[in-house]
Symmetry: C2
Subunit: 384 residues, 2 copies
């Protein structure tokens, strides 16, 4: 146990897959872990109790959204983000950088930080490494992230190098600003686009500064999955074994399985929540589009092999009806199912690592993806 | 106990207030009862478990919406409305008439029924008394309603008389079509606008036909509350004591309290659900508009005297934030609170009748409305 920062124990490995346990001020996070995204102080369409019931032990909060509305100082005044949104487990906050670069109206990047206009009211705001850490501390994050620049893809090696080097200088400024206390930690973020040399350099640089954990950023921005996996294979050997590793913004179920096989411990992504609100459900073998008329009279649950509340209670026909009628309950139920699917995937990945059958798990998972989602209703029968 | 239809027992009276028990094929409905509106097979923004948890023992389903989408025959094929929407308690369906007259694109009323164009796809459809009963039976309603014409207000006495008389002829056709079976009943609907003579005539006419319960229709369409109460005072003496009485589409909490005092047993209204989705919360003394900036840093729950899940877990500040940010959770939580408020009001009204203190209950309720909702946070302190 470390007295300061967050604690991480590596408990089991299989192939390059790792099972561990992170301890923060708000409890334990079993890894590999998936973090639902709680953008503006809510995991969209879910109550915090619903989120916890899916098995989530940590959610992600967006610094950019919360600093603009309701404001970090206000959240602190109201008792911090945990109390504000009534979430009792851990919270990881991002630095705000990614959203500033993708959502804010006009933004300019300088050595000091990023200046931007709010997408809500057009107010001009500066986000520096120091302010990002301050905001995350006001929110009361268990895990804070350094401010970095997430470069676009594709980008030239020269551009990627300059950007990565500035991100490393920002990382150091974040580390200097961050006040370590028990149960609260700061993660560095490896950048360097798709260039092995830059990724290695960045990883080693961060390790010199020393962080509570190490993230891999700048992926999930349109590059092919195989390329992402390659970057992971290049980068992870340069990350310390005794600290958690977080692949930011990833991903689809197959991305997660592939990344766990390559030694990643933590994930966050809007896919299960966002796709739930647009009528998509993740099931064994792939996903279903509930808008499709073929579900209109289908009495089967989304997935007969799923033991979530939604699959125990509602038919595809009903969910199809809700989606077509534009009912809020459609988004609520599909989000609940999708987050359960993701958490169950993590449970199964952890069990596979502990029981040393990760390779077999991978084979079954990708074989089922080949069979496709249309067979999800028939898995039970095939197995019995 | 009747072997056919639904059963009603009058258990206690106080002043003109009545406490009773309706037994349908799907369980008991304690009256006075409030029925949340489940328009298109879902009480908007609520899971059926959430609805049951507020204390609701019956929900209302809209024949018009369900016959257009997903279609009554389809719902039956899928096991009926209870199974389709996973609601285990009773369901009352309206006749479709009210929505046809207010929502459908073009409609013409003739003796045979109403012909209209669907607001969804413009298809021309005829709704006759016979078809309305057939649709409600396909849906599997525990309580069906006769097709009637809800006249506009104001209307001439001549117009109101002609409309009421046609509604009575339709009521008879509905009764003839309805196949009585154990646990399933049919209610007649008193019409006659604001004209005492017509209301009396209508009530007596329906009693001749004999129904499992009697509704008062044609109110909640813009007339002043005092006028509505007057109509109730005129009408209820002509309704049988041994059958439930349902005031359709009503209302605000003060409407309900006033109507219970005048002998009404059942209510339905979209106010708690719709206003929840637009940022309004019902509390002791009135209602709060959560959009209002004065809630932005208010750590108090919506109502410190409320023991609902929302008031135990979330502050006004958080709910204000969710409303401002347009988050689905705002509508989910405010709907949950509002439906709980309504059900708790019914629980309290029933207790007041049983304990013969309805007059005192009424006085306290209306005194608190005068004090206003801004004091809702201070009631606890004042009482202790």
């Amino acid at each position: 146990m470390t007295l300061n920062g967050i604690n991480y124990e590596l408990l089991a490995t299989d192939e390059n897959g790792r099972h561990g346990k992170i301890t923060t001020a708000h409890g334990i996070i079993n890894t590999p872990a998936f973090m639902p995204v709680g953008t503006a102080g809510t995991v969209k369409a879910m109550t915090p109790d619903d989120v916890a019931a899916t098995g989530a032990e940590v959610v992600l909060g967006n610094t950019y959204h919360l600093m603009l509305r309701p404001g970090a100082e206000r959240v602190q005044k109201l008792g911090g983000l945990h109390s504000f949104m009534n979430w009792k487990n851990s919270i990881l906050t991002d630095s705000g950088g990614y959203q500033v670069l993708s959502l804010a109206k006009r933004r300019t990047i300088e050595e000091s930080g990023v200046t931007f206009k709010s997408h809500i009211d057009g107010a001009e705001i500066q986000l520096t490494p120091e302010r990002s850490i301050e905001v995350q501390s006001l929110l009361g994050a268990d895990i804070s992230m350094v401010l970095d620049e997430c470069t676009e893809w594709p980008i030239s090696e020269v551009g990627a190098k300059a950007s990565m080097e500035r991100s490393m200088r920002w990382a150091l400024r974040c580390k200097k600003t961050f006040k370590t206390k028990k149960g609260h930690g700061l993660f560095g973020i490896v950048q360097g686009s798709i260039f092995p040399k830059l990724r290695t350099e960045s990883a080693l640089h961060l390790e010199d500064i020393k962080f509570d954990g190490y993230a891999i950023g700048g992926l999930a921005i349109g590059e092919p999955q195989a390329l992402m996996f390659e970057i992971l294979e290049i980068t992870t050997p340069f990350l310390p074994q005794n600290r958690p590793r977080y692949l930011m913004g990833i991903g689809k179920p197959s991305d997660i399985v592939g990344a766990v096989l390559r030694g990643i411990d933590m994930f966050d992504c809007v896919i299960p929540t966002r796709s739930g609100r647009t009528g998509q459900a993740f099931v064994r073998g792939g996903s279903l589009n509930l808008r499709n008329a073929r579900h209109a009279e289908d009495k089967k649950p989304l997935d007969v092999t799923c033991d979530c509340e939604v699959c125990q209670s509602f038919s595809r026909a009903y969910l199809h009806h809700l989606v077509k009628a534009g009912e809020m309950l459609a988004g609520m139920l599909l989000t609940k199912h999708n987050l359960y699917y993701y958490q169950k995937l993590m449970v199964n990945l952890r069990a596979a690592i502990i029981e040393k059958r990760l390779k077999k798990f991978k084979k079954t998972f990708f074989d089922e993806q080949k069979i496709g989602p249309n067979l999800a209703g028939e898995f039970k029968m095939k197995e019995s």
